[in-house]
């Protein structure tokens, strides 16, 4: 536990140093408008990464989140435009489908014993394929104005979706740190067999976690549509990488059993400020992908080295 805090403290220090450095490096970085805008851009990955923390703590992984996001986005448009549903109902229904996709992941993983990596790799293809097949590369635009409040509007001067992220993060931290469900998530990740024989509902908890992951990705999908005002079937490609990087950078063990939501949030801030700082410095998005990949491997190398020294 002390180790965990130390990792997060180190990371928080890194984040602060990074923010200060970026503030000196570009006068545009440390402005209220820019920071709030970064928060806006961070929300979709953030929602997914928070639940990804749960998934990884149980010792699993969910690679299908980007595809669920894309499928939800497409379905929102299709339900609204082709089925003529009211937009709110269309978005709600699309989120329900996305949540169900998460449930399917959990079901396949628990009932059939398929390794989460393979199960979600398969559904990554399946859900993205469904999104492509349903959309036939057509995009849906022209949503009513009220819908854009979600992704482009402000509430009390702060981007609407940032409020959602904050509420989501607080609920998730409380759930993970203080409730029985949270404790059983840690127990399952630390030793699944022991958790089972202690009478914990292992399968039900895991299904719930993957379902929640589907829900988070679906919610992120609707917010994404509202933010960019259109739906495309390739939305959210590579989202899983960003989310996993944030989680792992945040000190959550990829082997399960350890981790925290607050660490993931700090990880997110580090990644987002790096992306933003680099783009202000004129480096393209692809360049930051290289950095994210290096950070992902580096973060795990660091934690395994630290753990080995402790052991």
């Amino acid at each position: 536990m002390r180790m965990l805090l130390r990792h997060e403290t180190i990371l928080a220090l890194v984040a602060v140093v990074l923010l200060v450095a970026l503030a000196f490096q570009s006068s545009q970085f440390f402005t209220g408008a820019n920071l709030l805008n970064q928060g806006r851009l961070m929300t979709e990955v953030g929602l997914v990464a928070i639940i990804m923390t749960f998934v990884i703590i149980t010792g699993g992984i969910d690679l299908s989140v980007g595809s669920i996001l894309g499928l939800t986005a497409i379905l929102t448009g299709v339900f609204w435009q082709n089925l003529g549903l009211p937009l709110a109902a269309a978005a709600g229904l699309a989120i329900a489908v996305g949540t169900f996709c998460g449930f399917v992941n959990g079901f396949v993983i628990t009932r059939f014993g398929v390794p989460p990596l393979i199960a979600t790799l398969a559904t990554l293809a399946l859900y993205r394929g469904l999104a492509e097949g349903i959309s036939q590369a057509r995009s849906v635009r022209g949503y009513p104005d009220w819908f854009y409040v979600l992704g482009q509007g402000n509430l009390f001067g702060v981007p609407t979706q940032l409020w959602i992220l904050i509420v989501f993060a607080i609920l998730a931290s409380v759930l993970l740190a203080t409730t029985r469900i949270g404790r059983s998530i840690y127990a399952i990740g630390a030793n699944e067999v022991a958790a089972f024989f202690s009478g914990l509902p292992v399968n039900r908890t895991k299904i719930a976690v993957y379902t929640a992951s589907g829900f988070a990705a679906a919610l992120a999908g609707v917010i994404f549509v509202s933010r960019v005002s259109t739906t495309r079937s390739d939305m959210g490609t590579g989202l899983e990488l960003d989310a996993i990087t944030a989680v792992v950078l945040g000190g959550t063990s990829i082997y399960g059993g350890r981790g925290s939501v607050i660490g993931t949030l700090i990880g997110l801030v580090v990644i987002q400020s790096l992306k933003n700082g680099l783009s202000l410095a004129g480096i393209k998005a692809e360049g930051t992908a290289v950095l994210i990949g290096l950070m992902l491997i580096g973060a795990i190398l660091m934690t395994t080295a630290l753990n080995r020294r402790r052991a």
Partner: protein
């Protein structure tokens, strides 16, 4: 008897004992037989619906055009058999193809343009294999990171431009020795060599031990670290060969990452009977599965189904195969 053996030897490379031939085939190559049946069924059904599916040019597209996927799937199968995975293969092939093409158009000798992707593929996967085997980072994390690094690096260096004006001598995929397209020959020969090696050589066989039960492998004195590292390096070599076949089939190379290539390669390995839990499977199956996929992709077009559904079909296929694999194993364990 000799006649029977030659007719069978196309599907099973080594059948010496004549007696329990069919039983042996089914027990050793059950998944392979199922895939052959599926391929034949698909060809007959789609051929009846639309005879143009069986035209020589379409068959050439299916077999020669997708041989590189089968070659890449050989290495991937070995990686999965040892209990690991590599999601960076698509990005790696994209990077290697760009390097190879750039060398070819810059006037370097052709052997260098062919040799570079193989050596660099081995070097890149040496790093991956070392991180997986010795630094003990899960292969999914290493290769996810690697994918991001390679893909991002490629686009930021090249901007996704097209490489054209490739010299004629470079285009090895367009060779037709003995009237057969070179990619098909390469695919068949490499598959048979790899299958033979994995079945009959101690090192090849030990890969199954490492993937099937790492603890037991260690207890019997097999160093799983060395084998995992070796498998990743071999996988890199196959990726390099796949790159050559891929890069030389068209007159231009687009310096981006071929979309979803990693998924197709992994799927071929998994559907070909390589168990996702490690420890079993053959590369003959993965090659057959790669052909099956290519045929499905082509068939969709010939039966007038939008190609946009292809990925959903592939995803559904992986899911079904994986579930079948798990159900089949359940009663035994």
């Amino acid at each position: 008897m000799a006649a029977v053996q030659t007719s069978i030897s196309v599907s099973a490379h080594k059948v010496q004992r004549p007696r329990p031939l069919f039983a042996r085939l089914m027990s050793d190559y059950g998944q392979e037989c199922v895939i052959i049946a599926a391929i034949l069924l698909l060809f007959v059904a789609v051929g009846l619906y639309n005879p143009r599916f069986l035209s020589a040019s379409n068959l050439n597209t299916i077999f020669a055009g997708n041989a590189y996927i089968a070659v890449a799937a050989i290495g991937m199968s070995m990686v999965i058999i040892t209990g690991h995975i590599d999601v960076s293969i698509g990005a790696l092939i994209g990077v290697l193809a760009t390097i190879s093409g750039t060398l070819a158009v810059s006037g370097y000798p052709v052997w260098m343009a062919w040799g570079a992707p193989i050596l660099l593929g081995m070097a890149a996967n040496f790093v991956v294999g070392w991180l997986v085997a010795y630094a003990r980072i899960p292969s999914i994390v290493v290769t996810l990171g690697m994918m991001s690094i390679l893909r991002g690096g490629l686009i930021s260096v090249t901007g996704g431009t097209w490489i054209s004006g490739l010299p004629k001598a470079f285009m090895i995929a367009q060779w037709k020795p003995f009237g057969l397209p070179f990619p098909i020959i390469a695919m068949v020969v490499l598959t048979l060599i790899a299958a033979w090696w994995m079945r009959n050589f101690p090192f090849g066989r030990s890969l199954y031990a490492v993937g099937g039960n790492p603890e037991a492998a260690k207890a019997t004195g097999l160093s799983s670290e060395r084998r995992v590292l070796a498998v990743f390096v071999i996988h890199g070599a196959f990726a390099g060969i796949a790159t050559i076949l891929f890069a030389t089939q068209l007159q231009v190379i687009q310096s981006t990452v071929p979309p979803n290539l990693e998924l197709t390669v992994i799927t071929a390995a998994v559907i070909g009977g390589v168990s996702i839990l490690g420890g079993s499977g053959t590369v003959i199956g993965s090659t057959l599965a790669a052909i099956l996929f290519a045929a499905i992709g082509s068939a969709l077009i010939f039966v007038n189904v939008s190609a946009y559904w292809l990925r959903a079909v592939i995803g559904g296929l992986i899911l079904i195969t994986v579930l079948a694999d798990m159900i089949r194993r359940r009663p035994k364990t």
